[in-house]
Symmetry: C2
Subunit: 704 residues, 2 copies
């Protein structure tokens, strides 16, 4: 009903919206009505509290929560670190880890990074300076790309900086984001898997939820305060800003907000694209991911070492599977396609009434989308093949570095410049902790067979030829996995030193396969560049028309840049006759306890009866609150974001959305879209009453 | 929490309790506080409105709802009639039935009966008149049995009466219930299975529920108003009393009550018995019923005729399976064993403090129970064998009639007197509509194998010997099912005419098997009679001690006699973070619609959008309410009971309990035990807006 109203009115409510910080002053009235006590201007400034305490791990959000560089984030955001820190003797992915003191904090590995925003600057003029209305599409794309790379290069000429030019509203505006990159990140505390991911895949995306999905890291720098690689003598980083813990918890109806890095949303995609996803994309993903989860789970069950290495990939694919399934369920439940079509009718009406270049732009965009859908099946399977099997992904990446290395750095494709080398190297090293050959082989087998099942007009000829030369899929697998040199980190790293000619002359099967696939993909990439140029020309017109036809506040789709979303603690009615209350309790953890994934540690169950009498109990619930729901508009990438109250104080960490929120990536539904947070009082109770981690509680306490 | 309090206080709240009507005046204050508007004295009188309108189908409750003998009950209570009325051409079990007028009302078959209470009389003195404190147990049982039979015989000397002496509180009191037996019962309306059992086994025992579990019958009598067998010239029965439909529906918090015939509860069984059920009885039932449901479902899938015949048995066993499973879940969830043990400690404390004969009685009762548990595994499997396969059940029943027929009628075992012959005959005839030999054979095979898996000290020697003589189970099955004469109704009916000698001389394999099993069972029945005599002596002492140790109001266990239960429309919290609201709506029916068992008829889905604007919509829900929850204390047998408001007006029909209510048969939990009712407004909307059955609505309307 509310959804319908906001659609009819064409006005986004404040709790729909991944706002740019700078937009918040324009929402003053809505924010005050919701319960924000800070001046919106303070909230709009990334250099002031609280935004200045918000950081990124690259793939997750996080926040400084002490003056000594303690960082709060989600348990599931540190799962890669925990895999890196696990071996047969210490299964930290399963058991978690508690440093008894700062000396025991564990280096999270060479891939771990912390990004601290230093500035966000509008660079639209600089990016589009050379672009003219009649610039051909490929040229346009090159101009924009070159301008962005130049800005990034200039920015990264400063030491220890990571810079990015982000595009908003399909290329209407650009911002240069300058981040300091801290490279010595250590694990302070992660709860056991059975707490951090309590309920596992069963509860993933579900409510009621009882996960303690939080963890603490700490950033380290050289003794002189400068950025440094990991070294024993490093000292904790002293952030200029950090969040303080709220002295009062949240209650239903309370204002909450989240500042973080939402990854991607598709709120402004066309109805045709949505329909294609509903009818083709998600059903296909469900089919393939189902097989992937099954085979990874089988392999993990065979060996404890396999279980440790595959735990993170299984969670990842399982989550993607549930997301694709849930998307389909929710498209139906929320009537998303019909709503999108109604929205598009309003857009069409506006375009027709308005005249101007918009009608033509929309038609041209539609034609590009249609062409992409025509090759989607082939491109997707080939894409999975080049990415999912670890060893092929590593080889293909190295080969692309070699090819790009032949050009001047600034002409290279994004992701394959010199600035990207260190990260690629770390990823190849870290693969030692996640690679499990029997599983990798089965993933490869599945995907090769999928390519062979493609129809005649959707083949990858270079792959077909290579497979034929091997004598078919089975023979190819035998050759690839007989004794892969790449199973060792050194061999993988050596790939990054090889030049293009060496790749193309190699008779290593992995290299042959990567070269064959690249021969197919390179020309397609050129086509994609041309389409990208066209989009740069067309999308600003599309977005302009969409904004005009909707009226009211308008926010850009998520793009992994800093956003603020505001709303309230609020439950919802998942179906007729049922209310989901917005808070869960420790009693609920006990109620669910049983076999995995509900195998709560005995020490937690033992402490639970004392929770209602503890300092962390909620007066209304008469128990320690565990998780809570809010109307906040979040998505993947927001994970780990600190949740703040109206005074900007820490009340929890957002870690998931409800099942009904999945389709919000396409279309927000105020009646059903909810974010799920772990309550800071559960965090404190666990640390204090269950883990005996008083020193962390002490460091977190607001009086510290 | 509330459960705990009521346990500590030892006082039953009014909404726990299957009250004898005569007890209601003693609950005046509680009833007034809950919202009863009628004088409790009126409610206590089975000869006055509303109780006088309450009737029984023998296995379900029902009520007169018009002056022309229209009867409201549950859809699932008429499923046997619907099977009887179904064949390949007319699948009324699936499609339901609507008589277009009285002329089209369909005779529900020879087994259909309607029982109308004429009087309930305390006959304790008459039953116990000859019993002395030192009477030996077997003798005591015979005296009580003889006295009861004499009372029943005298009562049934009146024409067309069915009488019963019911025992309360384990034999402390007895009541003679005189019922008029109407024999021409016709089907007026039954919704399609997909409405009446919407959600099928998936939703059975669950909330939120959206079943239209109601049906209408009509009782017919001879043109002169006398009781008559079915005949075309019969006319509708004019009941002296009938319920009127409430002009306002129920809302959360409203007073509701149900008068009906709850079957059995075990509220006063010992903790040891409860533990045995939790550890042995229900787990065993789960195992066997799971196999039964699977094999019946397989057979039903093979043939449309099989599907029609097996639909009712599948529902029955499926329901029993879910009940056994749910019982185990709820024992754990509600902590029933611990609560029962606490209750028993209070009893023990009272007994110890009180002195007197109670301690010894409790010890003797415990010894009897223990002896019964020792042979439970054998007795149960053998019992299933003699009951579940249709043809063996029929043969064994007939043989017992033959054996008992050698005694004077009043000396025969209950159930095998002349008065029981007509019912047995109807059952054997009706078997034509439910018997499906391939399924019967598989049930028989399963149970024979179960008997062969019993340990050496728990065998049925007569069965073992017979099987050995056949050459084992497989050979026995071949012989039994080669061409069973009993597959025809005539052959089955002929069994009832055979004398004992003819049975014992027969070489029909069914008869041989029935005779062998009876040879094993007869002496055990004698032992059981002796134990029954002991119980008659001991249980009144046990109940007396229990009542004294608890204090407060006290009601007898359910025993298929007329009871009244009172409470409110109220939801519950099934688990942390979730509230179950007490009402569902037509929008929820649409929300669930999909493949079976949610295959709502298209005509219902078409009418649904108009429900909010219909006369039957609830002002608060803004839709037609479908089902509602109450705190009423009901159990199997209550099905079909009319649900009344505080003025005694019809507001719905109770048809199920929530999942959490199963364990209430052992122990009521005010926080979780809920009854589920179909709202009369859904009944009226379906009849009016979906079925076009305006003439029934007209007959039901309060102004009629």
């Amino acid at each position: 009903m509310i959804a319908l109203l906001s659609l009819i009115l064409g006005v986004a409510r404040a709790d729909e919206g991944m706002w740019l910080p700078e937009q918040l002053p324009g929402l003053s009235d809505e924010l005050a009505a919701l319960g924000l006590e800070l001046p919106p201007s303070q909230l709009a400034d990334p250099a002031q509290d609280p935004l200045a305490a918000v950081v990124s791990l690259g793939f997750c959000s996080a926040a400084f929560v002490s003056e000594d560089g303690l960082i709060g984030t989600n348990h599931h955001c540190v799962s890669g670190y925990l895999s890196y820190l696990s071996d047969a003797a210490n299964d930290r992915a399963r058991d978690g880890y508690l440093a008894g003191s700062r000396e025991e904090e564990l280096w999270a590995g060479p891939a771990a990074r912390l990004y601290v925003v230093e500035s966000i600057e509008d660079v639209t003029d600089a990016v589009l300076r050379r672009v003219r209305p009649r610039t051909p599409d490929l040229k346009r794309r090159e101009q924009v790309d070159a301008a962005k790379k130049a800005l990034v290069a200039a920015c990264e000429a400063q030491p220890n900086r990571r810079c990015r030019v982000a595009s908003y509203y399909g290329g209407r505006t650009y911002r240069l984001i300058t981040q300091r990159e801290l490279r010595d990140v250590r694990l302070v505390y992660a709860p056991p898997y059975a707490v951090g991911s309590y309920g596992g895949e069963v509860d993933n995306w579900e409510w009621p939820r009882h996960a303690g999905d939080f963890a603490f890291l700490r950033a380290y720098v050289a003794p002189d305060g400068s950025t440094a690689d990991h070294a024993p003598e490093n000292v904790p980083y002293k952030p200029p800003h950090h969040l303080t813990v709220a002295t009062e918890g949240v209650a239903p109806g309370d204002f909450v907000m989240v500042a973080g890095y939402p990854g991607s949303t598709y709120r402004y995609r066309s109805a045709a694209e949505l329909r294609f996803h509903a009818e083709t994309v998600y059903p296909r993903k469900v089919a393939v991911y189902t097989e992937l989860v099954a085979l990874l789970t089988e392999e993990a069950a065979k060996d404890p070492e396999a279980a440790a290495r595959l735990s993170s990939p299984i969670d990842f694919v399982g989550n993607s599977l549930k997301y694709a399934r849930g998307m389909l369920d929710n498209f139906e439940k929320s009537g998303v396609v019909a709503r999108k079509e109604a929205e598009e009718r309003a857009l069409t009406a506006w375009v027709e009434a308005h005249g101007g270049p918009h009608a033509e732009a929309l038609a041209e965009l539609a034609a590009i989308e249609e062409a992409e859908r025509a090759t989607w099946a082939r491109d997707t399977v080939a894409g999975w093949l080049m990415w999912m099997p670890d060893l092929l992904g590593a080889t293909h990446t190295a080969y692309r570095f070699a090819v790009e290395r032949e050009k001047p750095d600034l002409k290279r494709d994004a992701g394959y410049q010199d600035r990207d080398l260190a990260r690629a190297r770390h990823r190849l090293e870290a693969m030692d902790h996640t690679l499990w050959l029997p599983a990798d082989r089965r993933v490869m087998a599945l995907l090769l067979r999928e390519t062979q099942a493609l129809p005649a007009d959707a083949r990858v000829p270079q792959l077909d030829a290579w497979l034929a030369a091997q004598g078919g899929v089975d023979a190819a697998l035998e050759r690839l996995y007989a004794a892969p040199a790449l199973a060792g980190a050194e061999a993988r790293l050596a790939l990054l030193e090889m030049d293009r000619a060496a790749f193309e002359a190699s008779d290593d099967p992995w290299v042959e396969l990567a070269v064959a696939l690249e021969a197919w993909q390179a020309p397609l990439r050129q086509l994609e560049r041309e389409r990208e140029g066209a989009r740069l020309r067309l999308q600003p017109l599309y977005i302009e028309a969409l904004q005009a036809s909707r009226g009211g506040h308008f926010y850009p789709d998520a793009n992994s840049t800093l956003r603020v979303t505001v709303g309230r603690v609020e439950g919802y009615a998942p179906r007729d006759g049922v209310l989901h209350l917005p808070q869960t309790t420790v009693a609920g953890v006990v109620e669910k306890a049983g076999p995995a994934p509900f195998d709560a540690p005995q020490r937690l169950l033992d402490a639970a009866p004392g929770a209602p009498q503890s300092a962390y109990a909620d007066p209304a619930l008469k128990d320690v609150p565990v998780d809570f729901l809010s109307t906040l508009d979040t998505t993947g990438g927001n994970s780990g974001s600190a949740t703040l109250n109206g005074r900007g104080e820490l009340v929890g960490f957002v870690f998931d959305g409800n099942y009904e929120s999945m389709s919000a990536d396409w279309m927000f539904d105020p009646a059903l879209t909810r974010s799920i947070h772990v309550d800071i009082r559960y965090v404190l109770w666990l640390l204090d009453a269950v883990e005996g981690a008083g020193w962390i509680v002490e460091e977190l306490s607001p009086a510290h």
